[in-house]
């Protein structure tokens, strides 16, 4: 019916598509196909596989080596969206500039970013890490304790973020948050930011770091930040973790207070 010539004429389009979006195809392969394959083969979840690897290859008590082992696993074996080495360096720099005492982390997943933040905290600072999924929280707990951080530095809260934020002041006795790190579901960024504003936990000079604002992207969050005028905001451009060609960014917001 449709002749071969017309079908052949579509060949340049297919080639263009494949070449232009080759990094996205690679990401899809690693994040989805390889994961499904290993899920069927081993029966463990992805985070448990990661933890097994870290347990066998890292030195306990040394956060540096745990982070490096995680990076190695994510680059070579499978893909987990931790913050990654490049964006992690940006985060370390921001942490060392601000030296926060109270840090809130939304979405610890495997505990990679928790260990990274806790590593850079000064003495006497406290990190509250919120994770919604119970199994991931269990893994994160093990990873944090493996890294050698005890209970008065890092506290892991297992509950959805929108339920925790109103209770932070009452149950956990927090007056002000110096740094908030958002790395959970991108849909929740804007709601959680508004909840934090409403709860009065952000003071002048508080920093909010939001990861993955360009890919997969949080457009509502960025729109809210631009419109509200409460923040001095900047987007640090980098590449997606463990991937070379996909552009991503981390938004750094400094709360200015209501004028």
């Amino acid at each position: 019916m449709v002749s071969g010539a017309i079908v052949l004429a579509f060949l340049p389009l297919v080639l263009t598509f494949i070449i232009r979006y080759r990094y996205y195809f690679v990401l899809f392969y690693r994040a989805v196909l390889v994961r499904i394959w290993y899920d069927c083969k081993t029966g463990l979840s992805r985070e448990e596989r990661a933890f097994q690897y870290v347990l066998t290859h890292a030195t306990p008590g040394d956060p540096e080596s745990i982070l490096e082992t995680f990076d190695l696993w994510c680059s070579t074996v499978e893909f987990i969206s931790n913050i990654g080495p490049k964006k992690g360096k940006i985060m370390d720099r921001i942490l060392s500039e601000h030296c926060p005492l109270n840090v809130l982390e939304l979405g610890s997943h495997c505990g990679y970013s928790t260990v990274r933040i806790a590593r850079a905290l000064p003495l006497g600072a406290r990190l509250y890490s919120v994770e919604m999924d119970a199994r991931n929280a269990a893994i994160a707990e093990k990873v944090i304790r493996l890294a050698g951080f005890d209970d008065d530095m890092v506290e892991l809260i297992v509950s959805p973020s929108d339920e925790v934020i109103p209770k932070l002041r009452s149950e956990y006795g927090l007056e002000r948050l110096d740094l908030v790190f958002m790395d959970h579901w991108k849909k929740c960024y804007r709601n959680d930011l508004q909840a934090l504003e409403g709860s009065g936990l952000l003071g002048k000079g508080s920093v909010v770091l939001a990861d993955n604002v360009l890919f997969p992207g949080a457009p509502n969050f960025l729109k809210h930040v631009r419109k509200s005028g409460l923040y001095e905001w900047k987007i640090h451009r980098a590449t997606l973790e463990y991937s070379k060609g996909i552009r991503d960014g981390m938004a750094e917001l400094v709360y200015q207070g209501i004028k």
Binding site: M1, V2, S3, A5, I6, L8, A9, F10, P12, L13, L15, T16, I19, R20, Y21, V213, L214, F215, P216, G217, A218, P219, N220
Partner: protein, 635 residues
């Protein structure tokens, strides 16, 4: 006030302040001179204000950079040329025939045939330029071959021929003159010192009072900074030259493979369609009948995207990359041109064979008619038959004109629809789906489209080539093109401001103007070749057009020389067109061109040397000024 009074006094007695004798005459002369200068200045202002679309283009330039604006400047320039061509064809060909020629219905060639009369007014037929549109001043076939028409004794066939030649000659002249002017403006290289300082301290315009103008100025300064930064970056890049060369060779090889593949595909499809045409078009499906058009449109849409992706290997300056991209798409479109011309030549041959048969049939028919009337009455009354019933010969020139007009119309429609769907619909989807999609559509996959400079420029150039090819056979083409360019300007200006985002790497397009002109010149040359070939070698139809009855179209010149000019003129002309005289003249012209070329090169060289000397002198002055200032500080 005192100032005004004194000004009036000086103006009144200015002449008297000058010479003693002949005071009045001198004063009068000075006054006239001043009035003339004022008039000239006002006229210059008026001329500048009359330039159409200046504000629109400036606004686009401030947001999108000079490369996108160069397309719109090119479009405006084309519009000017097409206006002149329209003036020529409308005023000297269409209007005389419409006003002073024989009216509709008086001759077979000017009347819709009886068989087609029923649906000659249908919109579908008119859109296809058949029916009443075909039998009108819009096409070649309507024109009568009478030597003079009307009370003015207007020489219609001569005018038709000369307008056809004149449009081509005018186009050549204008293109080459513009190229020469652009080459002058380029000069021998800019003075690039303190680029950023100049931009930083002198960019703002303190006379701006309107907020929107201020926003535009802000955008344009930002864009010009981006352009300057890019130029600086490009001039500093120094990386592995061997790897770059290898990658460029590889990229060119890949592009050649793609061009060869698509060329072979087009050739294959054209051969198949010729086979189908021989078997009769009705026995094939819609897909097979329109195979050639579909394959050409698809390749024309998809191959440029592939070239764009391959060119990221090459790592050129964006201006050079744009020129390479233009050249490659040009080579691709030549394939399209080739198929179109092959198809046209086949149809012309078919029509000419038909013509022979019709000539035969007509003599038989006329004889039959004559015998009938003689049989009734012995005298021969005038045979009164309605022109619509007389069989007429096929008119290949009108068919060619119709093909060109249909091509232009379908091309225009395709462009506008692609613009609306590819740019506008995409922008609407990205803006409104973004509220409920999992990834950021604006920053990620589809996002807003960028303005495709190369595709649009080439579309414009090839479109103009079609006009030049077909204007001889369809005098309505320049009018159609003027309308199309007018609508394009407004539509594309709106689409660019509404749906497109600026490119990431914004570059200065100053060198591109001559490149577009060079491509236009090549297309002008390529498109006049087929027209000239058909004029010189194919005899005109015997039954339609201003040259019917002649053995070659250019015989009209011979006829004019014999009948309208005195005898000695014809003799002089025949002497002048003697090859013995023409060849030495051509040789002299070639030598003159070579001489002028070498002198202009040496002048350019001298210019560059002077500029360098000027730079070193100013540098020395600068250094010595610093030393002079430093001496008091040291002591």
């Amino acid at each position: 006030s005192v100032v005004q009074e004194s000004q009036e006094f000086v103006e009144k007695y200015e002449g008297a302040i000058g010479k003693g004798k002949g005071r009045k005459l001198y004063a009068y002369k000075v006054m006239m001179l001043k009035k003339w200068m004022k008039f000239q200045r006002d006229f210059e202002n008026f001329k500048t204000a009359c330039i159409p679309w200046e504000m629109k283009i400036k606004e686009i330039e401030s947001h999108f950079g000079s490369s996108v604006a160069s397309y719109f400047l090119f479009l405006r320039w084309m519009y000017g040329i097409n206006m002149i061509l329209f003036g020529l064809t409308f005023g000297l060909v269409m209007v005389p025939e419409a006003l002073m020629g024989m009216p509709y219905g008086s001759m077979p060639r000017k009347t819709v045939p009886r068989a087609e009369e029923a649906n000659a007014m249908d919109f579908a037929v008119l859109w296809d330029f058949g029916g009443y549109a075909q039998y009108s001043v819009l096409f070649y076939g309507y024109y009568n071959s009478q030597r003079t028409i009307g009370w003015l004794k207007f020489r219609m066939p001569l005018s038709y021929f000369l307008v056809g030649v004149g449009t081509v000659a005018y186009s050549y002249m204008v293109v080459i003159r513009t190229m020469a002017r652009n080459a002058n403006e380029d000069g021998g290289g800019d003075n690039n010192c303190f680029n950023f300082s100049w931009k930083m301290f002198t960019s703002w315009d303190y006379l701006i009072g309107n907020p929107e103008t201020a926003d535009n100025k802000f955008a344009s300064i930002t864009t010009s900074f981006k352009e300057a930064i890019l130029e600086e970056q490009e001039s500093r890049k120094d990386d592995n030259i061997h790897l770059t060369r290898f990658l460029r060779v590889l990229a060119n090889f890949l592009v050649l493979c793609c061009l060869a593949g698509s060329g072979y595909l087009i050739y294959f499809v054209v051969r198949r369609s010729q086979k189908f045409a021989l078997e009769g078009l009705e026995s094939h499906t819609w897909w097979e009948r329109n195979e050639v058009n579909m394959v050409m449109s698809l390749l024309g849409m998809f191959c440029p995207m592939l070239f764009d992706v391959i060119s990221t290997l090459e790592n050129y300056h964006p201006r050079i990359a744009l020129q390479w991209q233009l050249g490659r798409i040009f080579a691709l479109f030549l394939g399209n041109l080739y198929t179109f011309i092959i198809a046209l030549m086949d149809e012309i041959n078919l029509k000419r064979e038909e013509e022979e048969m019709v000539k035969l049939n007509m003599t038989i028919w006329e004889a039959g008619l004559y015998n009938e009337t003689v049989g009734v009455n012995s005298t021969t009354p005038p045979i009164a038959i309605h022109p619509a019933d007389i069989p007429r010969g096929p008119c290949w020139e009108t068919m060619v004109g119709q093909e060109f007009v249909r091509l232009i119309v379908s091309d225009t429609m395709t462009t506008y629809i692609m613009l609306l769907i590819g740019d506008f619909l995409r922008a609407v989807l990205v803006r409104f789906l973004n509220y409920c999609w999992c990834w950021d559509l604006e920053a990620g996959f589809p996002s807003y489209s960028e303005f495709d400079v190369s595709g649009n420029v080439l579309g414009l150039i090839f479109n103009q080539g079609m006009i030049w090819m077909g204007a001889f056979y369809a005098p309505c083409l320049p009018a159609l093109n003027v309308l199309r360019l007018h609508v394009s300007m407004y539509l594309q200006c709106w689409a660019v401001m509404c749906c497109n985002v600026p490119q990431e790497r914004v570059f200065k397009a100053s060198g591109s103007n001559n490149f577009y002109m060079a491509m236009l010149l090549v297309i002008l040359f390529l498109s006049t070749l087929p027209a000239i070939y058909t004029i010189v070698s194919i005899p005109p139809s015997f039954d339609c057009g201003p040259f019917s009855g002649k053995s070659r179209m250019f015989d009209v010149i011979q006829e004019t020389l014999e009948s309208d000019f005195p005898a000695w003129f014809g003799k002089v002309f025949s002497y002048a067109s003697n090859p013995g005289l023409v060849l030495p003249f051509l040789l002299l012209m070639v030598l003159a061109i070579y001489y002028l070329q070498s002198t202009s090169k040496s002048y350019k060289q001298a210019n560059l040397e002077l500029k360098k000397k000027l730079q070193t002198v100013s540098h020395d002055n600068h250094v010595s000024a610093i030393i002079l200032c430093a001496i008091p500080a040291l002591t």
